[in-house]
Amino acid sequence: MLFGGTDVGSLTAQAVLLEDGRITGYRNIRVLPNPVESAKKVMGELLEEVGVSPDDVVIFSTGYGREKLVEDGFAKEHVSEISCHGRGAFWLNPAIRTIIDIGGQDAKVIRIDGNGNLANFVMNDKCAAGTGRFLEIQARALGLTLDELGEMTFKASNPVAITARCSIYAETEVLHYMQRKFPKEDIAAGVNRSMAERIYYLARRVGVEREVTLTGGVAKNRGVKHELEKILGVKFVDLGVDPQIVGALGAAIFAMEKYGGE
């Protein structure tokens, strides 16, 4: 029996397959306009790749559209992204107690106990400055790819202060700096730093207990990661997988735990 999980976000969708307690495959795509379609597509492609029929898999869904997927029978059950990120990270490394997940639309700080159960969480309820979308908008204004944006932290000598909290106003700030001919690296590094600061204050609300890991797309931004480690005073544990698939993995684990027998 195989177990699968799908996680649809605002920007990307993932699918993961588990067999005998091992990840047999995963896939990560950009979302389609409709989340249900995204989940079906990413899981469909993965199943095809692995050569398994959908009937042989128990799928749990998480992320956007998770209930819809259950309603139309594609997934057996749905679990919130918060629990899934917690469970996925814990499964990969049982020393983990705190997961910071930063996606396109939201950021969450998740605390789990010694059994991998959800102990507490916060999600950014506030202005969006602490989400991946913020980075996307600024990267565009800077004319950088997301990959390049992250690297700039290591090239900057004097990061600028990005003070606006709203991403749209921050974009103007970025443009102003560019028009005043500040080095791109310094502006980009300022963007990464201000992002890390937002997350820091979110994290303080539930407290950060070691070990800590960073998941979601923003974990791929090395600059933000570095700044966050600095400000939190911790070293993130690398889970050894693509940080974007942790949510989908968690869903698959829930499926396995519930329907895996024994």
Binding site: Y64, I82, A119, M123
Partner: protein
């Protein structure tokens, strides 16, 4: 049957009973807080009608008066006043609730200048001095009614209606207890009941309540939750939360449990002093009363224990200072005492917000391992 009637009343503003009441030549006055001593108005058949947003999320006219930093519930109510939805009222009692309401009434006056708007002053502290002041304020309210409506309000009649209120409060407590151990109603039903109470003549409400209590519903849930925070008449929101399995079995907001749970019964003493003590002491459940935080925390905790809840949801409207700050403190303290807490910040009546809310509630249920 009665329950569905109650839901109908809670989802509209002017209901058939109010229409009938008016057609019989009786007055209706709007107010905005549970500090309003109902019996003073009812003694001369003035119906106190509590202003609410009735699920209205469109505030485009109100927004050119109030700012976007004002609580969306107030903006929603102002919109309804400005667009004529509250024209069935014969006047307003500007009850000193929170600052957002003060600003709202200032704007009502600026934009509409209603013929009757009495400022009813409610202190923020409870002590001998404020009680004496408040007792006099209630007398001034009585005089304002007398002058405006050409009536005479006797103490005997006030006492009579105080006893009616006692009866309703007792029934309400009984009704709430039906939800505690083996819940027979949804939280959305309970909210509809309390909202209806604020929109009906007492006699009518009492009858509806009694027959509603005889009904039995089959109730599904994953976890039992207590709801606290800012005033809430959004039945739709509660329904959505309950659909996810978080059954609201108790709540301490001022539309709900807070409006009657701690209300004292008439003890035969001087009526105005009694009313002052009754309403001001009960008001300690609201974050607008300063120096009474411990009272509120204990109220929530004791109800949580009695109702055997699994966790507490603290909600507030965006831009609500009182409950926003209160909830931050409550979250810390309740969690410290081992009660799991979810803080929900929302815009009044926003159906669009529902996705965000659902994710949080689901995760909260998972945290409760339900």
């Amino acid at each position: 049957m009665s329950l569905s009637k109650i839901h109908e009343i809670a989802s509209t503003l002017e209901n058939e009973y109010v229409e009938k009441w008016r057609s019989e030549g009786n007055a209706v006055v709007g107010h905005a807080c549970i500090a309003m001593p109902k019996e003073v108005a009812e003694a001369v058949r003035i119906l106190p009608f509590r202003l609410r947003g009735a699920g209205n999320a469109d505030t485009s006219t109100a927004d050119s008066y109030l700012s976007r930093y004002n609580c969306s519930l107030c903006r929603s109510c102002l919109e309804l006043v400005l667009n004529g939805s509250y024209d069935f009222l014969d006047g307003l009692v500007r009850v000193r609730g929170c600052d957002h309401w003060m600003g709202t009434f200032d704007e009502v006056q600026h934009a509409k200048n209603p013929e009757f708007m009495h400022y009813f002053k409610v202190p923020h502290l409870v002590n001998g001095d404020t009680l004496e002041f408040f007792s006099n304020e209630i007398k001034r309210l009585k005089e304002a009614f007398e002058n405006r409506f050409g009536v005479e309000i006797t103490e005997d009649e006030i006492v009579r209606y105080a006893k009616v209120q006692d009866e309703i409060n007792e029934k309400m407590r009984e009704f709430y207890r039906l939800r505690f151990k083996k819940p027979r109603f949804y939280g959305s039903d309970a909210i509809a009941v309390v909202v209806a109470r604020e929109s009906l003549p007492s006699e009518v409400f009492l009858q509806l309540l009694e027959s509603a209590m005889a009904e039995k519903k089959k109730v599904d849930f994953r976890a039992k939750v207590l709801l606290a925070g800012s005033p809430l008449d959004e039945i739709e929101l509660i329904r959505k939360i309950e659909e996810m399995g978080a059954l609201i079995v108790a709540e301490t907001t001022c539309f709900g449990g807070g409006s009657f749970w701690n209300m004292a019964e008439y003890d035969g003493s001087e009526i105005y002093d009694f009313l002052a003590a009754k309403y001001l002491n009960n008001l300690k459940i609201c974050a607008r009363m300063f120096g009474e935080y411990a009272f509120r925390k204990n109220f929530i905790k004791s109800m949580a224990v009695e109702a055997e809840v699994d966790g507490v949801i603290l909600q507030h409207n965006k831009f609500c200072d009182l409950f926003g700050i209160e909830n931050a403190k409550l979250r810390m303290d309740l969690e410290k005492d081992g009660i799991p807490v979810l803080v929900l910040e929302k815009e009044y009546a926003s159906t669009a917000d529902i996705g965000r809310i659902k994710t949080r509630v689901q995760a909260f249920l998972e945290r409760l391992k339900r």
